[in-house]
Symmetry: D2
Subunit: 397 residues, 4 copies
């Protein structure tokens, strides 16, 4: 007999839980797209959106998922024949590189493996070696959703500068924006790609590309209509913001989400919350790992994202645990994505916990509690004191 | 800085969390009340509603809260000058008695205190003493929301029968229906009073009175229009179900709630879920109590409700804990209701955890986790292993 | 083949259409009823609610429909054996009288028929005849939902005063509040009864009783707990506002509805809108009537409500029209209530158009357009120019 | 004083009104995108979606607006250097051509003006002249949202065939799908482009490209990742349907919209409803035009869309009327798009009425009624009997 009837908590690494206020804002029969409230709202919302990315640059909003925003960002500043240096730390930067390849961009990939972040020294070295300046851009994720790694963007900028290389620094913050601390301007990112459905707490359907003057200067003349960010960042009319019909309901939802961020105390308060909650989760995971197979994928806490944690449990325990917590606990965990181990080619030993967006101690401690119940129910060995350790972290705020 | 931005969990002993499906069912601009879908729906819904109370009797639906339903139930079978035997086990049966007094019904109260349930032997004794058969009804709660006590209704019936007394057994299941096991027909209750906002997962606004043939036979001729249950249980038209305009949106919500119960596997599955979750909570409370002041109000587990647990923490710790978990954890606990202790006249040492309705392990373990965080943050002494003990209970399903 | 797929317009005389904002405000998993936002909100809302009734008196909010509010109002100031003078102008004042009878109040009924309003002279005469002052209250509706009549409340007060009679003037504004102009204090009503689901645009489930000092002075000592308005108008705690658990979601909806009224420009703007829209409807009805059987039930425009219009169409044309417009036009009309004619004992020749609450020219002219389509489809004779006449009224604002 | 407080009707030519059921389906905190209900739902939904376009071919779903779907469709079968024959009948085919130009496709434009549809003979002639078969595709809209023209797609196919030309027939049905009769397979369209926010009654955010085997055979090897329709029509996993994160809430909304279409009786019933409602509108417009400046942009009814009607009113009357009906009537009309006249360079003499999607007689007749009120209020001359003429059309069903 299931115990799961109740409010399910979807703790996958995106889409995240949409707050009731966001959903209520989207519950409207349809607003006008030619004039009136929605039209006025969007211009006012742009500064709030940029504040989340900590930039005084520009932002283009696309009706697209994150993969679309990747394609859009690449098309504006990279042309067929250009080279991008791709910093692989899991799955997503590499996939962005593949998307670049599909439009004729060459890529040079440095693979940092799946258990640690970018090593800036190797990036600097690669850029120094590029004496012909073929590399137009360095592509990285801040947080890789598959591995849970958090890359040091400021260090990457320092490495690029140390190499005296003109390449753009293009950062995928799809999983991290509004979760992990991110200072686009202060850290020297030129392009930031994000999406609505993670830290921004709005259903999937919007992609964002933030860009600074350096990125604008690198503009390709020829860009497809839909991906061209020029009219979107400097629209002659409302229609140009979105290259056609506006995503009316998503805009209303996003406005509500940005209001929530403001009410919480701004993005720094949001980052702090994610930081504490992630540390709570890690405290539990490490305690369980003391007495069993559980292991956080990224060993060094300094390299872990505050938005998602990837874990291994051995054998097929990841899949067994996911099935149990969903069927019995009202908790949905993320699958291991692109992970494998000897004897586990499909990654059934892995799982992920998303802790992004609209999440608080009740939701996090509930998720950890259900995981402990699952470990017990499935007789997966685990250390003691995990839940109390997590509560301890939260008690300190 | 608060960590509470996220989905708040309201764990007071009612109103309980309304499921999204219930709320979506209520999100309709307005249905017709003269004919069509809503009218057809109500007749079909009555059997499903009676199944929750396990009765083949009748049910009257009132637009009212539980206090209104009390008044309604009393008016139909008790007349000015009649006597009701009120079994006080906290706050609510006594209050029902007061409401009876207000309409001229005499009450004889047996007070069983606030820390244990009804003693059937004393009831039998009182009834035997009533040689003149002045007592027309025995009034009890199944679950007292203030104390968390669970009374043994079958034993009460046995006591009444043993005394050979004709009094009606009238049971308040407002807090317990759809949470604590309840068998109206099998246990011999004559009248059952309930409401929408607890186990039935629908916003406050509907009261229910279930009744059997014995209650119908006890009908007063003169009853006020609004409280008269006769037209409501045997309506000539849709209008009579509700003594006027139907509570359209609540009916749509209730239909969705009853559908959820059916999908879970019926009321027995619902009872089982509440039973396991309550035991999980008690395991944590008892573990904390091993090393500190926490104490479950009802010592004997057999007398504890599966819908709500009342606790004491000493001094003003109840209020402090409530404030902390709401401000920092996304959890709202119930106040201590009608409780006091030496040095604590206002009951600031008490609090309650509601665990009724749309609740699953994630929600329960999250609530317990936040409580542990609060105990730590506030330096309230507490035993170890509480959260793990709760997870252990849940792991066994 | 139906053409009705689209947004249906429910134009019955209540419940009226709930605005999206009201429904969205109600779409919340559950608020706390012990402290916090909802508790603060209610105290702030009371003045806004009283402003709708134009009174500086008090208001008691009941979880009940209008029939419940009738019973509640009567119980507070009328006692068994008291006499109420009931002014019947259709169905509802008489029904209120019946409800009084059920609690032992005597009634003396003056029936003004179903096609015109109260004649104050007859009321004055009846009061003068009551030399023993047995009559404690005069009961009237402002608008009778069945007949569409609008009674002149100020004239009633003048009649009572002219008779030098101390009777309370108790007015049912259930159908009219927030639609027809009503000045409780200026017109000298002592008690006003209303409900949520008409001009207040909130789903059925709340009843309101407004009262002035004279009504308070007439207070019965003994009133049932649920109906006693004393704690509700002067609550010691939040719990007393509602005699138990608060109607959480309805309160949130009502708050949104009162906000809409404020945004429209206050209650006078709302009255003006209803006035224009009603006149538009009457212009169409009268034009149709020029060439066919259609007849507005109340001949004198000064005696017609701005909230609902009752009509006759002859034979079974009312029912035929209702069926046609619902199946083919996306419009639901009200049934003829309590009407009959020679050869039409069940009132199939009658129907009603509600025009209350959240209604604008688009909704009204759409309703009239669909009625004209129905008259044509069913070959019911009708005069020309009706729709244009209605548009003409609206064009003048 | 405004009369507009009530349910506003947005009668612009898209986005159209989203039904409550669609919006309620979208009101969910977030579904899983890896497995479970949503994943199963999409595969089941594809056939229902294809049935709306009347094709046994394939469909690719894009998170994009219609302009994005245009770009996507073009990229798959047209390569830089290819030529497309663009049939301009207003604004939108020409804009699609411009989007093609932006990705290096040459276009040859035949402009049929703004007041009539495509002349198949001229298309045949142009294709016959293309002896080198440079033209790879003929691009047309079925309905041009700006002019309200409806092009004859079957005749276009016949013209292409008559010319013995292998060009693909690519049809934009963004405004027409689910409104105007459209038989993709039977009429010989190779590619059909559509979007969610018009006949499909779902908020903007989804674009659809339907394609047949001939289009598949014309596939470019090199297509950007996001626009490549191959994985979307033949996905290896759920992720590939949408080139990344699924548009979770839109999919739930679309499912509800397709259910509504099924309940109405299928797409033929939907077409019939649009046909009758459009004829009702035209009857009114023509009657008004008998006595004043109002003129339907497309003179020949056979060339008019059932989804939108464009009109001229002279001078700045279009804008004045739009402002009046919105401020006073609760109706929002569409602006004249890309229209101008001597002395009216900005098109203030024009307006449009959208009549697409979730619309029924009440909504249409209400819109027409408010327009008549506006004409009167603004003293714009107009013929008599318009509203009655519209009602007459609807009365015949």
């Amino acid at each position: 007999m299931t115990l799961s009837f109740g409010r399910n908590y979807l703790a996958i690494p995106g889409p995240s839980v949409s707050p009731e206020r966001v959903l209520n804002a989207m519950h409207t029969s349809a607003p006008n797209i030619y004039e009136g409230g929605l039209v006025d709202m969007v211009a006012d919302m742009i500064p709030d959106l940029k504040a989340v990315a900590r930039t005084s640059g520009d932002v283009a909003i696309y009706i697209a998922n994150g993969h679309g925003a990747w394609e859009g960002a690449a098309m504006n500043v990279l042309a067929p024949g250009d080279t991008a240096l791709v910093l692989a730390t899991g799955r997503f930067a590499a996939l962005w590189g593949t998307i670049c390849n599909r439009i004729g961009i060459e890529t040079e990939v440095i693979d940092f493996g799946k258990t640690s972040g970018v090593d800036p020294a190797r990036v600097e070295e690669a850029l120094r070696a590029d004496t012909e300046r073929r590399i137009k851009a360095v592509l990285t994720v801040q947080t890789d959703t598959a591995t849970g790694v958090l890359n040091d963007i400021a260090a990457l900028r320092a490495a690029i500068d140390a190499a005296g290389h003109p390449a753009l620094l293009m950062v995928d913050c799809i999983a991290s924006l509004g979760c992990d601390t991110y200072e686009m301007d202060a850290w020297g990112a030129d392009v930031t790609v994000a999406a609505s459905q993670k830290g921004l707490m709005t259903p999937p359907g919007l992609g964002f590309v933030f860009l600074n003057d350096k990125a604008k200067a690198a503009q390709n003349e020829r860009v497809s209509y839909y991906w061209d960010w020029r009219p979107r960042i400097d629209p002659e009319g409302f229609y140009q913001y979105f290259g056609g019909t506006a995503p009316t309901h998503h805009l209303l939802g996003l406005r509500a989400a940005l209001d929530l961020i403001a009410e919480e105390g701004g993005i720094e308060a949001v980052w702090h919350r994610h930081d504490v909650l992630a540390h709570a989760a890690w405290a539990a995971f490490e305690a369980w790992g003391q007495g069993g197979p559980m292991k956080i994928n990224i060993a060094d806490p300094a390299e872990r994202s505050r938005a998602v944690t990837a874990l291994s449990l051995g054998a097929d325990n990841g899949t067994r645990l996911r099935r149990w917590v969903e069927a019995n606990g009202g908790l949905t965990l993320g699958i291991g994505l692109g992970m494998s181990a000897p004897g586990d080619p499909k990654g059934d030993g892995f799982f992920r916990l998303g802790h992004m967006g609209h999440i608080n101690p009740h939701m996090m401690l509930g998720a950890l509690g259900v995981i402990e119940a699952g470990l017990k129910a499935l007789d997966i060995p685990h250390g003691a004191g995990a839940l109390s350790a997590a509560a301890e972290v939260i008690s300190k705020g």
